[in-house]
């Protein structure tokens, strides 16, 4: 009987544990809020991200830093979003970029339409921790 009494307590504890193990959500406006990593990259970091409207089109520039002594391969693409959060222009192709050892590589992209007001940078590197961020 005592066993059944303890079930709600066990559920509450497991829920609390699950909450504790998750990373806090990124702050709005921070780089992490704009970057989606397909598992955490070991050696590559997005160190700078800036966006500006030029000729009615959102122009984005990202800086990727390679902290390793070996060259690193990066695959990336942008997701373009309108004011309501809907994707604009369909899916972009994944693009390969070679980032040399200790190099800072700049990626730049222009939104496909004037309707774009926001974006996400999706990145993946073959050398990663294998853990989802």
């Amino acid at each position: 009987m005592n066993l059944f009494k303890n079930i709600p307590l066990a559920i509450a504890l497991s829920v609390l544990c699950a909450c504790a193990s998750q990373n806090p959500p990124p702050r709005p406006g921070s780089i992490n809020s704009k970057v989606e990593q397909l598992s955490e990259m070991s050696y590559l970091q997005v160190t700078d991200l800036r966006a500006v409207k030029r000729n009615h089109l959102l122009t984005v520039q990202a800086e990727i830093n390679n902290t390793d002594s070996d060259n690193q391969q990066l695959y990336y693409r942008f997701k373009w979003l309108d004011a309501a959060g809907f994707t604009v222009g369909g899916e972009e192709a994944w693009k390969p970029v070679l980032v040399y050892a200790y190099q800072k590589q700049t990626l730049s992209a222009v939104a496909p339409s004037p309707q774009v007001t926001d974006f996400k940078l999706v990145v993946q590197s073959p050398d990663n921790t294998g853990e989802l961020p």
Binding site: N55, L57, A93, W94, K95, A109, S113, P114
Partner: protein, 202 residues
């Protein structure tokens, strides 16, 4: 009697479990599967889907920033030929079709029929005006086509080098925007791609 009872229970359990299994709406031999059309393709170092997609994205985004295009209100553009000067077969029309689709989606530019589609355009106008099948008031008139303000033309070239087991391929895609009236080149850009393969196992 107990034997039949156990068989009944087993059958019931199997029916319940098969009812729980999710049924995919597929008919497959098991050897074919759909993949991501946007994936980075490196099966060989010949011109591939990733090259076509990256060229189209790079050129369309650069072209949309051209002062000649955003300076005018929805200018009319046509696509001329992109010459293939590489050693391999590349469907350059497919590249320009992708570039045109991306630029059209922006809503900032209009496109006039290009030379490859002109015969279809003439045939349609002829059918509406000269077959006697259409109401005069409802048929589209001849002589109202609009001439394009600009034309897009370009070339794709390659340099291929081999050294032992290593093969290096360098592609350069060049595109230009030319004012049809003045002949002035208003915009030009290039996209370079390098692909290296190694046959060596060690």
């Amino acid at each position: 009697m107990e034997k039949y009872s156990n068989a009944f229970k087993a059958t019931t359990l199997m029916l319940i479990l098969s009812g729980c299994a999710t049924q995919s709406p597929t008919l497959s031999s098991g050897n074919v599967e759909y993949g991501d059309s946007k994936t980075v393709e490196t099966l060989t170092n010949e011109f591939g889907s990733t090259d076509l997609q990256t060229i189209a994205e790079s050129m369309s985004s650069s072209l949309l920033q051209s002062p000649a295009l955003f300076g005018k209100s929805r200018p009319l553009v046509t696509v001329a030929e992109v010459k293939n000067r590489t050693s391999e077969y590349i469907d350059t029309k497919s590249i320009t079709d992708s570039i045109r689709a991306k630029i059209l989606k922006s809503g900032m530019v209009r496109f006039a029929v290009d030379t490859s589609a002109m015969q279809t355009q003439v045939d349609e106008l002829t059918r509406q005006n000269q077959t006697g099948l259409y109401k005069k008031s409802k048929s589209k008139k001849m002589g109202n086509m609009e001439g394009a303000d600009f034309r897009i033309e370009g070339t794709i070239t390659s340099i291929v080098k081999r050294a032992g087991d290593v093969k290096d391929v360098y592609y350069k895609f060049s595109l230009q925007l030319v004012d049809n009236e003045s002949g002035v080149m208003e915009w030009a850009d290039e996209k370079e791609i390098r692909k290296t393969s190694n046959k060596s196992m060690f």
